[in-house]
C-alpha cells in the first residue's frame, strides 16, 4: 500500500547542528533522508534529482540568506508538483506562509523552526505534506484568525468555531480535528457547516480546496 511506503525526504539546512537534529528526528520516525543540502541551489538540484515525497528546508539559506530556502521551495513546488515542501522558519510572518501556499494548498507546509522539537507534531506535519496535505503553524494561523478586526463575520464566530476554523487552516482533516478537540467527526462537520455559512463560503468536499478557501478568506483581513 503506497501510504505505508517509506517517505523519502530531502533536507535543506545550512546550520550543521540543526541539520543533524532534523535528520535524526526524521530517520528515527521512519523517514528516509535521501538528500541533504546546505544551500538553496544545492537543495533545488537535489530535489530535482531525487524526486522526494517532501522537501524539508530552512527558510534562511545561503546564498543571500533572507528567504532563499523559501524561494527554492517555491521553485520546487512549481517545477515538480508531486513533491511536497515544508519550510521551517524562524519568522512568524503570515505573508511568507501565504506566499508559499499561493493558489494551491496541496503538499505545502510552513512551520516555526522550534516545532522540530515536538517530534510527534513535526513528523505528522512532514507526513501530511508528503501525502499532498498541508501544515501551517498554529502560531501563524492564530495571527491570521486572531488579528483585530473592525467587526466582520469572524467576530461572530463562537470560540469553538474559531478553534475549528484555525485547525482547518492549519491543514487538519475533520478526523484529526475531531481527535484534537475530542468530539465526534459529525460534530466537527456541523461546526464546519456553520462556519462556512457565517463566512459565506462555499463548502467543498475536497480537503485541500477547503484549506485554500479558508486561507484566502483570512488573507483578506476582513
Amino acid at each position: 500500500m503506497a501510504d505505508q511506503a517509506v517517505i523519502r525526504v530531502v533536507v535543506g539546512e545550512d546550520q550543521p547542528l540543526v541539520r543533524e537534529g532534523v535528520i535524526r528526528v526524521l530517520e528515527r520516525a521512519g523517514f528516509e533522508v535521501v538528500g541533504v543540502a546546505a544551500d538553496a541551489d544545492d537543495l533545488a538540484r537535489k530535489a530535482r534529482a531525487h524526486h522526494p515525497d517532501v522537501v524539508v528546508t530552512d527558510i534562511r539559506m545561503p546564498p543571500g540568506e533572507a528567504d532563499a530556502g523559501l524561494q527554492a521551495a517555491l521553485a520546487i513546488r512549481r517545477d515538480d508538483p508531486a513533491t511536497g515542501v515544508l519550510v521551517l522558519s524562524q519568522y512568524l510572518e503570515t505573508r511568507y506562509a501565504l506566499d508559499l501556499v499561493g493558489e494551491r494548498a496541496e503538499g505545502v507546509g510552513y512551520l516555526l523552526k522550534d516545532r522540530v522539537g515536538d517530534v510527534p507534531a513535526f513528523t505528522d506535519a512532514v507526513r501530511r505534506v508528503a501525502r499532498g496535505g498541508s501544515a501551517l503553524d498554529p502560531a501563524v494561523v492564530e495571527r491570521m484568525v486572531g488579528r483585530p478586526r473592525d467587526g466582520g463575520p469572524i467576530a461572530e464566530l463562537t470560540a469553538r468555531e474559531r478553534e475549528v476554523l484555525s485547525l482547518m487552516a492549519e491543514g487538519l482533516s475533520n478526523q484529526a480535528i475531531a481527535e484534537r478537540l475530542v468530539i465526534t467527526v459529525a460534530g466537527v462537520e456541523r461546526h464546519v457547516t456553520r462556519i462556512f455559512g457565517k463566512l459565506d463560503l462555499h463548502q467543498t468536499p475536497e480537503h485541500h480546496r477547503r484549506v485554500l478557501a479558508v486561507l484566502q478568506y483570512l488573507r483578506t483581513g476582513r
Binding site: 524562524q90 519568522y91 503570515t94 505573508r95 511568507y96 495571527r143 483585530p148 478586526r149 473592525d150
Partner: protein
C-alpha cells in the same frame, strides 16, 4: 601788361579776400575769394559800385553807417594804412558777417586808391571751433573728470566763439543752479557759486523750457544782471541746455559785451559743445556706476565667501555691517533681529563716528523707525528724517546723531527675521536707491542666518539621533536581560536541578525538564519578536507592504492596510518608513485613544508618500524635547523628506511623510 592786369593776376591767386577801391571810392575789382565771401556770383556785379554803400553801409544793429565815419577808405585820402579788429560787412542779400580787415593806400594811374584785405571772422571761428571741439572730444574720450571738462569747455568756447564769458551751471533740486565751469577775463561768479533760478535769467528760462534762450540783461532786474554788468560789462546772454538721460542736467551760457546781441548761429555752435559735455557726464556716470557695481560685487563676494565658509554668524554680521556702510557711504549700519515677542534686538553694528546702536540693545519694535517700517512692509524702505518722530527707537537714534536711515528686511524661510539698517549723521539722506543696495546684503544675512539655523537644527537632530540610538540600545539590552536572558537562566537552573534529581526523583526531573522546555519556548518566542522588532526580515525580502502588514497583525488594534503599494525602494528608505509607521502606530495605541487606524503607502516614480491616520482624540504635536514625533521627523529629515502632522483636537491624527526617491 598793364599795372591793372598785373595786380589782378596776383590777387586772383591769393586766398585772402581782397578788393581794390579807386580814388573815387568805387570798387575797381575784387578777387574771387572776396566775391564769394560777399555773396556775389561774378566780379562784374561789384566792379564800378561804390564800396561803402555796397558792403559797409550799416551796423549790425541795422543803423546806417555814414560814409564819413568809415575809416576803410581813409588811406586813399591820407596815405596811411589802417587795421580794424572787428567790423561787419554786408553781403549781397543784406546779411552781415564779422570781419577783421586791413586797408592800405594804393597808387594807381588815375589817382590814389586803396586795397582792402579782410578775413571772415566766422570762417576763422568755425575753424577754431572745430579744433576746440576736437580738443574737448579728446579730453572726454580720455575720461577726464567732469570738472576738468567743464573748465576746458568754457575756455575753448570763449576763445573759439569769441565770447567774453562762458558759464556752465548744473541745475540742482529746488530751483538752484551751481556754477561748475566758467571762463572769462572778468568773472564775478567763480565755480561753486550757487543761485536761485528766476523767470528772467537765461538759465532759469532754459531750465523751465528745456530749450535755448536769450536775454538782454538791460531788461533783466536783479542782483545777477547788475553784477554781471558792473563787473564784466556783460549785456547779452545765450543759454543752451545740457541734456543728460532725457533731462536738462544744466545750462551752458555765452555772455557777451558790446552793443549787439550774439549772432544767430550762437545756439547751434554752443550745442556742439554741450553735446560733448553731456557725453563726458554720461561716461562719468557710466564709469561711476561700473565702479559702484564692482565695489558692490567685491563687498558682496567678501561677505558671501564668509557665508559659504560657514563662518560664525557674528563674524558674518560684523562684516556685512561694515561692508554695507563703506559701500553706500553710510555713517552707521545696524543689523536688527525681530524677536517673536516684538522686540528689536540689535545683533551687530558698525559706524564711522560711533553712532550705531550698540549690539545687545533691546527696544520695542513699534512706532515709526525704519525697523518697524521694514518689518511691516517686508520690503526695503527709508526714513528721510527722524526729526519729530516719537517713540523710543527714533529717540535713541536722534541721541546717537543719526539723521535718516534706509533699511531692508532679512527674510529667512518666509519670515522677516530682522532688518539691515544703514543711516547717516549727515543732514542729507542717503541717495535714492540705497535701500535696494542694502537689500543685497540683507539677502546674504538671510542666507547666513538660514545656514546657521539649518546647521543648528542639523546638530540638534544629530544629537537626538545619537540619543535615540543610545536609548534604543538601552531598551534592547533591557529587553534581552528581562526576556530571553531571564528565560534562559531559568532553563539552565531547571535543567541543572533536573540533572541532580535524575537518579533520586525521576518524576521531579521530568517536571523540571518540562518546565525548562516551556521556558525555552517562551525565550525563543521572545527572541523572535525582539528580532522582528529590531529589523523584520520580511522588510528586506518582501518590502514595505509585507512588513507593514506583518506589523499590523501583531497590534491589538484593527489597522486598515488596503492601500499599501507593493513596490520596492532603497533599503534605507524602506527601513525609515517602516519604523515611522511602527512608531506612529505605537503612538496611536499609547496616546490616541483610537478605535482603528489606517496606513496608506503610495510609491510614485519620484516620491514615496506614507500616511498613518487614526480616529482618536487628536491634538498631537511635535514634542521638541521628546522622542515621539521629533524622532520621526529626524528620521524622515535624514532622507530629505518632510513630515507633517494634522492633528486638530477631536478629529484624529494624520501623520504624513513624503520622501523623495532619488
Amino acid at each position: 601788361m598793364t599795372d591793372d592786369a598785373f595786380l589782378r593776376s596776383i590777387l586772383d591767386t591769393v586766398a585772402q579776400p581782397v578788393w581794390v577801391v579807386d580814388h573815387d571810392g568805387r570798387i575797381r575789382f575784387a578777387n574771387p575769394e572776396a566775391v564769394r565771401a560777399l555773396g556775389y556770383d561774378d566780379v562784374a556785379e561789384l566792379s564800378g559800385k561804390p564800396s561803402h554803400e555796397t558792403i559797409h553801409y550799416k551796423h549790425p544793429d541795422g543803423s546806417p553807417f555814414p560814409v564819413n565815419d568809415c575809416p576803410m577808405l581813409r588811406p586813399r585820402l591820407d596815405g596811411e594804412a589802417i587795421h580794424e579788429d572787428e567790423d561787419w560787412f554786408v553781403r549781397r542779400d543784406g546779411s552781415m558777417f564779422p570781419v577783421e580787415y586791413w586797408s592800405a593806400p594804393l597808387e594807381m594811374p588815375d589817382g590814389r586808391g586803396a586795397v582792402v584785405a579782410f578775413t571772415d571772422l566766422e570762417d576763422r571761428r568755425r575753424t577754431a571751433q572745430t579744433s576746440a571741439l576736437r580738443r574737448v572730444a579728446t579730453l572726454v574720450a580720455q575720461g577726464a573728470a567732469p570738472a576738468d571738462v567743464f573748465a576746458v569747455v568754457a575756455k575753448e568756447v570763449a576763445h573759439s566763439l569769441g565770447f567774453a564769458l562762458i558759464s556752465i551751471v548744473r541745475l540742482e533740486p529746488e530751483g538752484i543752479a551751481t556754477q561748475v565751469g566758467v571762463w572769462g577775463e572778468q568773472n564775478p561768479f567763480p565755480v561753486g557759486t550757487s543761485w536761485r533760478l528766476d523767470a528772467h535769467g537765461v538759465s532759469g528760462q532754459v531750465a523751465r523750457t528745456g530749450r535755448p534762450a536769450r536775454v538782454d540783461y538791460a531788461d533783466v532786474p536783479g542782483e545777477i544782471a547788475a553784477t554781471l554788468a558792473r563787473d564784466a560789462g556783460i549785456r547779452w546772454a545765450v543759454g543752451v541746455p545740457i541734456v543728460l538721460d532725457g533731462g536738462v542736467w544744466g545750462v551752458m551760457m555765452a555772455l557777451s559785451t558790446g552793443p549787439t546781441p550774439q549772432p544767430e548761429t550762437t545756439e547751434a555752435r554752443l550745442a556742439g559743445f554741450t553735446e560733448l559735455v553731456a557725453t563726458a557726464l554720461a561716461n562719468t556716470h557710466a564709469r561711476d556706476e561700473l565702479r559702484r557695481l564692482a565695489d558692490e560685487q567685491s563687498a558682496l563676494r567678501c561677505v558671501a565667501t564668509l557665508v559659504a565658509r560657514g563662518a560664525a554668524s557674528r563674524e558674518v554680521f560684523d562684516a556685512v555691517c561694515e561692508e554695507t556702510g563703506r559701500l553706500i557711504d553710510a555713517t552707521s549700519v545696524n543689523l536688527a533681529h525681530f524677536t517673536s515677542d516684538g522686540i528689536n534686538l540689535t545683533m551687530a553694528g558698525w559706524s564711522l563716528h560711533g553712532t550705531h546702536v550698540p549690539p545687545g540693545t533691546q527696544l520695542p519694535l513699534d512706532g515709526f523707525a525704519i525697523n518697524e517700517l521694514v518689518a511691516r512692509k517686508r520690503a526695503p524702505g527709508r526714513v528721510d528724517t527722524y526729526e519729530g518722530v516719537p517713540e523710543r527707537l527714533a529717540a535713541r537714534l536722534r541721541e546717537l546723531g543719526i539723521k535718516s536711515e534706509v533699511g531692508a528686511p532679512v527674510v529667512v524661510d518666509g519670515h522677516v527675521w530682522g532688518a539691515l539698517i544703514a543711516g547717516t549723521d549727515e543732514p542729507d539722506p542717503l541717495p535714492v536707491g540705497a535701500e535696494y543696495r542694502v537689500a543685497s546684503f540683507a539677502e546674504l544675512i538671510a542666507t547666513a542666518v538660514s545656514n546657521a539655523t539649518a546647521r543648528a537644527e542639523l546638530m540638534a537632530s544629530r544629537a537626538r539621533t545619537v540619543a535615540a540610538a543610545d536609548a534604543a540600545r538601552r531598551r534592547l539590552a533591557r529587553d534581552l536581560h528581562d526576556g530571553a536572558q531571564q528565560d534562559l537562566v531559568n532553563v539552565v537552573i531547571d535543567l541543572q536541578l533536573a540533572q541532580q534529581a535524575w537518579d533520586d526523583d525521576i518524576a521531579r526531573a521530568r517536571a523540571l525538564v518540562d518546565r525548562a522546555t516551556e521556558q525555552s519556548q517562551v525565550g525563543v518566542d521572545g527572541l523572535r519578536e525582539l528580532a522582528a522588532g529590531i529589523h523584520p526580515e520580511i522588510l528586506t525580502s518582501r518590502g514595505l507592504a509585507a512588513a507593514i502588514e506583518g506589523l499590523v497583525e501583531r497590534l491589538p488594534m484593527p489597522v486598515d492596510t488596503h492601500e499599501l503599494a507593493e513596490g520596492r525602494v532603497a533599503q534605507e528608505i524602506e527601513a525609515s518608513v517602516y519604523f515611522l509607521v511602527s512608531e506612529a502606530l505605537t503612538n496611536v495605541i499609547k496616546h490616541a485613544k483610537a478605535q482603528s487606524a489606517r496606513v496608506r503607502l503610495a510609491i510614485d516614480p519620484d516620491v514615496l508618500t506614507v500616511e498613518v491616520s487614526d480616529d482618536g482624540v487628536g491634538g498631537a504635536h511635535a514634542d521638541p524635547g521628546g522622542s515621539g514625533l521629533t524622532g520621526l521627523s529626524d528620521r524622515i529629515g535624514a532622507l530629505d523628506g518632510t513630515l507633517s502632522v494634522d492633528s486638530r483636537a477631536g478629529s484624529g491624527t494624520t501623520l504624513r511623510a513624503v520622501v523623495p526617491l532619488a
